[in-house]
């Protein structure tokens, strides 16, 4: 439908728009860049914290103590039973001798247990869970096994962190959406100013019978170019912030590794670019649509 000279005209119009409103365009790129960076940065942090909160309870192992006097064959059978339960990632056997040694070592040198002549420890299993949220069910099942004496598990801490993960996830999603809408509003306003600056052209286009899609196109392109440039800027800002954080934490690899969002750089770039282009197209579409509905042909007279 569009011939090459029309495409050329539309692209040149969009570029001319940007050139004519250089300052406004710059302001739009900066605001889009900063708000995209903030919203993406917030999203990344929220994802990282969310992941951390989900990961943390996995570090809390469940300790299962075996009833005293259980024969060794039954102990090894118990190990198989435990390993087969849902939500169990791995099971490690800790003999009562090793348990006793570890206990004594944990007390340090101040308190000596050398006078205690018999070993009060029990054989035990250390259970690592694949999903800490299933911990309660698991605990109940294990408790009913006849060979089990007691279970030790930090249930409250787990509940706290899984709850925190949910809150951070929801808050992060909401904040990201709000910031995104804020950028959409700012870009939409820039486009609206651009439309206002070109109201003569627009009203003459309408007067001589240009299709609405044809009138819209340069503004859509302009919005996408501005927001796309904003996305590139946002990416730079995030990389800078990332590099700064890395320098700040230095060898505290435990922190950086722990607070990993798991989003690859290329994914972040693609997401930001998609968000930017979508943002630009959406906000300019809404602005121009409203103007084309309300705008009068009289604008050319001003």
């Amino acid at each position: 439908m569009l011939n090459p000279s029309s495409v050329e005209f539309l692209v040149l119009e969009a570029l001319a728009n940007i050139r004519r409103n250089r300052l406004m365009a710059l302001a739009a790129v900066l605001t889009a860049g900063v708000s995209l960076a903030i919203s993406a940065g917030f999203a990344l942090t929220a994802i990282a914290v969310h992941r951390a909160c989900e990961k943390l309870p996995q570090e809390f192992d469940m300790a299962v103590y075996v009833r005293r006097g259980t024969p060794p064959e039954q102990v090894s059978k118990l190990k198989q039973t435990l390993a087969a339960l849902p939500g169990v990632a791995s099971v490690t056997f800790i003999s009562k001798e090793r348990g006793w040694q570890e206990f004594k070592r944990s007390l340090g040198q101040d308190i000596s247990m050398d006078d205690v002549l018999y070993n009060p420890a029990l054989d035990s299993f250390k259970i690592r869970m694949s999903d800490p949220r299933m911990g309660r069910d698991l605990q109940n099942r294990i408790r009913n096994l006849p060979e089990v004496d007691d279970i030790l598990w930090r249930q409250n801490e787990v509940r706290f962190f899984t709850g925190l993960a949910r809150v951070v996830g929801i808050a992060g999603a909401v904040a990201t959406v709000v910031l995104f809408l804020g950028s959409a509003f700012i870009i939409g306003n820039t486009i609206r100013l651009g439309i206002y600056a070109r109201r003569r052209e627009v009203s003459i286009m309408r007067l001589v019978g240009a299709r609405p899609s044809f009138i819209r196109f340069p503004f859509l392109l302009e919005g996408m170019l501005l927001a796309g440039a904003g996305a590139v800027l946002a990416l730079l800002l995030i990389r800078l912030a990332g590099a700064y954080l890395e320098a700040l934490t230095g060898d505290l690899q435990s922190i950086t590794r722990f607070l990993d969002s798991g989003v690859a750089p290329w994914q972040l770039a693609a997401l930001l670019m998609a968000a930017g282009l979508g943002l630009g197209a959406l906000s300019s579409y809404l602005s121009i649509r409203r103007y084309l509905k309300e705008g009068s042909l009289e604008a050319a007279a001003q």
Partner: protein
């Protein structure tokens, strides 16, 4: 070509612009719309190119009910109707050539069509030698010629001129008048609203006179004032 059937127009602010208009304009006609300020000359033209929608009655252009055209389809009507205004409405940062080419570009013409048609219409309005000038470098008459070329370059069968000579001196007005007549002779239907009694009297064309009650007079080969006939 154009037909008004019992058309009234009341603006949202309550102003009654037109009342009970019945009018029929055939293909190839030249019609003056005259009348005192506020009797709805401009409003009548606006109803034809769908800048306004009648409050009552129907306006037909080429057999189509203009008021019933959906918003997204109005552009098809606008391609049938060229419009020029008293204040020219040229784009100040584009040359004469670009102003005329603009109408072609935004209606999707090819580069070849533009190269062919723009010089043709520059010649029609006698501005070939000024094609690289900007509107600010032109006289009022030259600006109006540019506007006329822009309105016609897309080949609309109808030309509406809303007081096209209102800002021009008598000699220049007469030149524009002659240009519009030549355009009419090429086959365009021309409707022109005006206050210029001398020009209307000189032309002796169909005159539709409006007053606050609607159409006061509709006569062929007429004068600006009814009483002029007796003179």
């Amino acid at each position: 070509m154009i037909e008004f059937r019992g058309v009234s127009l009341i603006y949202p602010n309550g102003v009654l612009a037109l009342r009970g208009i019945n009018l029929r304009v055939e293909k190839g006609e030249f019609v003056f719309i005259v009348g005192p300020t506020g009797t709805g000359k401009s409003s009548l033209l606006k109803l034809i190119y769908r800048e306004e929608v009648p409050t009552e009655g129907t306006v037909l252009v080429d057999g189509q009910d203009v008021g019933a055209i959906p918003e997204g389809e109005v552009w098809r009507l606008r391609r049938k109707v060229g419009v020029v205004f008293q204040d020219f409405r040229l784009l100040p940062d584009r040359t004469v050539w670009e102003n005329i080419a603009f109408a072609l570009r935004v209606t999707g013409a090819s580069a070849r069509q533009i190269r062919r048609r723009v010089p043709e219409f520059l010649e029609l309005v006698g501005l070939t030698h000024r094609c690289d000038s900007f509107p600010s470098q032109l006289s009022g008459g030259e600006q109006q010629r540019t506007a006329i070329a822009r309105a016609l370059v897309t080949d609309p069968p109808i030309l509406l001129a809303d007081e096209p000579t209102g800002n021009l001196d008598p000699d220049t007005s007469w030149e524009i008048m002659q240009l519009l007549e030549r355009i009419n002779l090429r086959g365009s239907t021309v409707l022109m609203s005006t206050h210029d009694s001398e020009m209307v009297n000189r032309m002796r064309r169909r005159v539709v006179a409006l007053d606050l009650n609607g159409i006061a007079r509709d006569e062929q080969r007429a004068y600006y004032h009814a009483e002029s006939v007796q003179r």
